[in-house]
Each structure stands twice: as C-alpha cells, then as structure tokens.
Amino acid sequence: MHIPDGYLSTRVWVITDLVAAPGIALLARRAQAKFNHHLIPLMGVMGAFVFAAQMINFPAGNGTSSHLVGAALLSCLLGPAAASIVMTAILATQALVFQDGGLLALGANIFNMAIAGVFAGYLPYAMFRGSRVGLFLAGFFSLMTAAVLALSELLISGVAMPPAMLSVSFAWFLVSAAIEGALTLAVAVALERIQPGCLRKPVAGGRAWAVSGLAAVLLSSAGWLFASDRPDGLESLALKAGISNRVTSLIASPFGDYQASFVANPRLAKSVAGLAGILVIYGLCMAISRAIGATRREGA
C-alpha cells in the first residue's frame, strides 16, 4: 500500500504531489478552523495510537493474523478533515523514520490513503448515519479505494505486471478490504462500549463533503487512467474499451507535454520536469498559505 520511491514515473508522482499538497493545505486549514486548540495534541496522539494499534494482531483464521490500517476509523472518530491530516502525519513519519513508502511518492500515498481513503471511508459512514453497516463499509471502501488507486498509479507508471497478477491483486484487495471493514467495525464497537459518544455523529455538511470528496477521487482516478503514457498493464483494458486513443489526444494539453521540450536530452528533461513540478507545487502551497493567512487576519 505504501508506494516506495523508484516505482512511479515522473508524470505520476508530479501529478499526485500536485493534487495532494494543496489538498492537504486546505484540509489542514479546515481542521484547524473547526476545533479549538485541544486539537494538536489530540491529533498527534491519535496518530500515535493508530501506529500502536497496528501492533495488535487480530487472528484472521487459519493461523494468519492481520492488523488495522485505520484511515476509516480515524475519519469516524475525528471527521474527514482532521483524519486526513493525521493520516498525512502518519504517512510522512512512516516514510521518513521507517522508510515505509517514498518521499517523492508521498504525494501519491497521501492522495490514496489520507485523502481518497479517508473520504471513501467517511462517505458510507455518513450515508448510513454511523450504523454498523456504515462502519463496515467505511473500512471496506477506504481500503479498497486506496489499494486500487495505488495499483493504477503503478500500472500507469509502467511497472510491468503479468496480466494474471491483476485479477489476483483484485481478489487480494477484496479480502483485505473485508478484513479492514470487520476490524473497523469491531474496534469501533469496542470503543463505543468503553467510551460512549467517542464516534463523531456524521453531520449534514459532512455528507456534502464526503460526496464531493468521493466525486473528486473518481474523477481524478479516471483522469489518470487516460493520462497514462505507458499503460502496460491497463493497456489491454483501455484498448478493449476502445477509448484510449481518443482520450489521450483529448487530454494532450500543454501540461500533458510538460517534459520541457527545450531541453534536448530526454533524460535530463525528466529531471528538469520533476524539479519544475516541485517548484510549481511549492509555489502553489505558498500562495495558498498566503491566502489562508490573509483570510485569518481578516477574520481576527
């Protein structure tokens, strides 16, 4: 699930970083606005709790055991915006301290798990008004979304994979997602028993957020499928659908051709494109934080 560095093509990691960075900046602002200053230690400790909870082994039958991933649980506990920030902090810590997941790939991992995974979990939770079905589906969809996104990013990046592996992967995802659903439900029930009222009741506004979040997820994942420049694994799939060519030419926007054509050497071009991508992300974040700072001063 945690994509390390070295797997993703320049295009994929640049785009995911471009989506994730401002997304997280916005969510950080939202989470910060919503709670009082109680929030910082609470979110940090909840992140540590998810880390620690991953140490608890759940026997999954036939001698194997499994552990919680936690994105869905966090979104039921803290609401989606705060949960996204906590997951981001977890992913960054895992990448830096434990080399679990890459740094350039951090954007992709954040997008898959901290944004898409969290919102995909919150949507069913909100739709089923926090019932048990909702909790199970939260875990299920959260993991499924994150896993499918990770897989498509790898495929788009041109990671070679025998076609048979694809169906095996999907079967495996289904099983893991079902386990995550069961764990989310079991742990949430235990929490409610121990500390009644700790799960956040989904609010009306939260539902709108969840819907738009999921829509964004679906749109952008579809976008990547088509933006793919070397769709080894997905190639056959897309070709069968007969849409690949049409859409690729459709999306051939200036940015699609971002490989800085003025640099002759194609390999250097990739590095330069990467650097340029970083600069763009950086600039975007600066602009957003400026904007946030400005609105906050106005508000104060």
């Binding site: 910082i40 906590v86 070679a160």
Partner: protein, 235 residues
C-alpha cells in the same frame, strides 16, 4: 527498532549533521528526483550516485555497512516487483526498480541519520510545510514511543499472565484496541491539560532559530551540480 538507530546516528556532529535541515531536505529531493528517473540502461549514473551517497555517509561518520543495510528494508518488497517484471517479460524493469528504490531509501536514511528530529521539523517549517501539520507530526513522534511501548507492555502483560498472547481471540483483541484507544484519548486530554496549565493557547512557540550559512549554500550547490551534471552527461 529502526527509529532508535536512526535517532542515535542523528545525534552526531559531523559536517553533514551541522547543515541546515532545509538545505538537506532540498538536496535529498534533488537526489530522489535524479534517481527516480534512472533507466535500466544507466548503470553508470546509478553507480555514481551510490558512490556519492556512500561517501556522504562515511563523511558523516556513520557506520556505512549498517546504513546500507538499513536502506535495504525496501528490497523485499522490490523483489516481488522484480519477479513480476521477470514473469511479465521485462526483467530489466525489475532490476531498475530494485536499484532505484534502494538508492532512494539510502538517500532518505542519510537525511534522517544526519538530522535530529526537532531540526527536521524546523526544516520542514522553514520550507513552509503547514505549521499545523508539522506540529501534529511533532506530537505524533513524541508519543509514538510512549504508545508503542504501552501497546507492547499491554501485550506483554497479557502474555505474562496468560501464557501466550495468541490465545486472545478476535473480540479480546478489539477490546484491547479499545482500551488502548481510551487510554490514548485520556492521555491526549492529560497532555492538553498539562499544556494549558503552562500557558498554551493554541500556538506552540519555537526558538531554535536555524540560520543558513555560507557552508549550507556550498553544500547545496556542491551536491546539486554534480548530481544534475551526471544525469546530463552520462548516457
């Protein structure tokens, strides 16, 4: 555990340890970008990066073999993909993934092994990562050990009174997760109380003012230059 070793290394005082964390993060990113686009055919560039990274590790007075080993944690996962590439008829792609992910991990390990955790956070803040996120990371790291230790101790306590932890069934395990949560929640409240008691009103001040020196500038250009030049020159 991994973090213990990295933390131990990060307390060194070498030239690399003393560089501004933001400078080190920048250099790390440049290395990662260069490495991430290495092609299967570019063995010479890969070797060059390996040599530079190893030289940096030894200049930072780190135990080079153990650093190399620490970066190798990513290899088992990469092996799976290498095998898949092999079966998909593109073995060279698999090799490239293994090389790239190992070199990338090596770069990250070097960053962490030469940067103490508070400095790293200060560096992230200097690069304008949202302060709010950085502070959540600070608390996460601070209580990571405490809670992992508590979870471990709970497991041990169960084990020491029951023979074997695996006799816990699914429901007991979820009860344990629930207790861990309740205690984490309680701890978060206690921490907030302690912070409030000492004047916290939503803003955590920092006074470790790190200044960018000429040495930092040399450090960045001295490394970024060759790294990019090699990508340009070597076929």
């Amino acid at each position: 555990m991994r973090h213990a070793r990295l933390e131990l290394w990060s307390r060194g005082t070498s030239f690399a340890h003393r560089r501004h964390p933001a400078a080190k993060i920048l250099v790390t990113l440049v290395f990662l970008i260069a490495i991430s686009s290495l092609h299967p055919s570019q063995a010479r560039a890969a070797i060059f990066y390996f040599v530079v990274l190893t030289a940096l590790a030894s200049a930072a007075k780190l135990p080079v073999p153990r650093v190399l080993l620490a970066a190798a944690v990513v290899l088992p996962f990469a092996c799976v993909f290498a095998l898949m590439s092999f079966f998909a008829g593109a073995p060279e792609k698999g090799i490239a993934i293994m090389v790239r992910s190992w070199l990338s991990a090596l770069t990250t390990v070097l960053l962490m092994a030469t940067t103490a955790q508070p400095d790293l956070l200060a560096g992230l803040e200097a690069l304008r990562v949202p302060r709010f996120l950085v502070q959540v990371m600070q608390f996460l790291y601070r209580y990571l050990l405490v809670l992992i230790e508590e979870a471990g101790a709970m497991r041990a306590a169960a084990a020491s009174r029951a023979g074997k932890a695996s006799t816990l069934e699914f429901r007991r395990a979820s009860a344990a997760a629930g207790v861990l949560f309740a205690r984490s929640w309680g701890r978060a409240n206690a921490i907030h109380q302690a912070m409030t008691a000492r004047g916290f009103t939503g803003h955590i001040p920092r006074f470790r003012v790190l200044r960018i020196t000429a040495a930092d500038v040399w450090f960045v250009f001295g490394l970024v230059g060759p790294v990019l030049a090699v990508r340009l020159v070597l076929p």
